[in-house]
């Protein structure tokens, strides 16, 4: 395993018995030379970082395999140009891994603490509803489950009880199916533990906006009900005076006179 670079330079007089059908490739010695640099450098870096030689070699092998590239087509050059850093801890494998991570993107699995893609999507699409964080009391579950349709608003109202924080602007279509959310919403909003003053203001604004929206809905609904009542009252008046079988006929010229 030692003296590979020096050994590669040696020219042996061919015994001329090998490669009966295969033309002897010129790549072998260059490849083993490259492997000695690449894997050897990675192994030494692992050693200097408290690991084992083979852990560095294995990591370099995995990195090379996942990169899907050839030593000859780039990794060799990379190895040669980055080996100085290898003794200090920045291995070629580590650099490749970093590159790979950058290519993959900062998913929550790779970067601890980063928001998940799902939560970012929710935040960007749910408008003011995003102001209800999942960490505040039991509010989050109800709201985040129905960020747009509001189909389970009744549940939201239940969850809001006690530590209510957050609501949002509701469109008319979102309000359908709200049911008795107005009764479920508490009259006083209390910021949950751990909220900043700014968050509290935001949540209050959200609640207010939501309350106004719901109030507007209820007002409109009341007006609609009043109109319906008026129509019903008029129908009853007619039926009470002439009977339910009465049909009002518009007089015309062809109607015979009695």
């Amino acid at each position: 395993m030692s003296g590979i670079v020096k050994s590669v330079k040696k020219v042996f007089k061919s015994v001329a018995k090998v490669a009966k059908k295969i033309v002897k490739s010129k790549v072998f010695k260059v490849a083993i030379f490259a492997a000695a640099i690449y894997f050897g450098g990675a192994g030494l870096s692992a050693l200097s970082n408290g690991g084992t030689f083979m852990s560095g070699v294995s990591a370099a092998g995995s990195s090379l395999a996942s990169a899907g590239t050839s030593l000859m087509s780039g990794e060799f050059v990379t190895a040669g140009s980055h080996l100085s850093a290898g003794f200090g801890g920045t291995t070629v494998a580590a650099q490749q891994a970093a590159t790979a991570n950058a290519a993959i993107g900062a998913s929550s699995a790779v970067v601890p603490g980063a928001p998940s893609a799902a939560s970012l999507q929710t935040a960007s699409t749910s408008g003011l509803m995003q102001t209800a964080p999942t960490s505040v009391g039991g509010v989050g579950s109800g709201i985040s489950a129905t960020p747009t349709s509001m189909a389970n608003m009744g549940n939201v109202g239940t969850n809001l009880g006690g530590t209510a924080t957050g609501s949002g602007t509701l469109t008319a279509s979102q309000v359908s199916g709200v049911g008795n959310v107005g009764n479920a919403l508490p009259t006083t909003q209390t910021a949950g533990a751990g909220m900043t003053h700014g968050q509290g203001l935001m949540y209050s604004a959200g609640i207010n906006a939501g309350t106004q929206a719901v109030g507007g809905y209820l007002s409109a609904k009341g007006q609609q009900e009043d109109e319906e009542d008026e129509r019903e009252r008029r129908r009853n008046n007619i039926n009470g005076k002439y009977g339910s079988e009465f049909q009002y006929v518009i007089p015309s010229a062809s109607t015979p006179k009695v």
Partner: protein, 174 residues
């Protein structure tokens, strides 16, 4: 293959000494007898065929033969081992082609490169297990390789080290 040609041009060659030449002839004869004697050739083909990839199979076959020869010939030179490894890889590839298990066109530079990669890792793991891994020698190997590839160019950016660091770590001795 520009890089390959460039690198080949940068690796200067020198004649092996008469002792090395003699050792090589002996090691080669021993390895070939191992490979073609008895049932080893058949089991070698089977090993290649049953491997996860052809490259891994060929590397495993060559590794077994190299280690066997190493054990039979104590004190074999590294330069001889490398030449022997090259001969064995080519011989195993030839066997696969002649036995109709592989097309000649499959024996590409890329395959050989893959075989070498596997072979190096296999040999390194074995040497490590045997406690014969010498980091200092590998360091010299890597430094020598770097000197050939970079011709002493100091790396830039995050790869750059101060002169003090380089001196401490021995790179200035290249």
């Amino acid at each position: 293959m520009d890089i390959l040609q460039k690198t080949q041009g940068e690796i200067e060659t020198e004649e092996a000494s008469p002792e090395e030449e003699q050792q090589y002839q002996q090691a080669y004869g021993m390895a070939m007898r191992s490979l073609h004697g008895g049932k080893v050739a058949k089991s070698t083909i089977a090993r290649v065929l049953n491997a996860e990839t052809p490259a891994k199979g060929i590397a495993a076959a060559a590794f077994v033969l190299i280690r066997r020869t190493e054990e039979q010939m104590k004190g074999i030179e590294d330069s001889v081992k490398i030449q022997l490894a090259e001969d064995l890889v080519m011989e195993v590839l030839s066997m696969m082609v002649e036995s109709g298990r592989m097309q000649e066109s499959e024996a590409t530079d890329e395959l050989i490169e893959e075989v070498v990669k596997e072979l190096y890792q296999k040999y390194a793991a074995d040497a490590d297990n045997r406690g014969e891994m010498d980091p200092e020698t590998i360091r010299q190997d890597v430094a020598a390789g770097e000197a050939i590839m970079n011709r002493g160019e100091k790396p830039q950016g995050q790869n750059a080290m101060s002169n003090n660091e380089a001196e401490t770590r021995g790179l200035m001795n290249v």
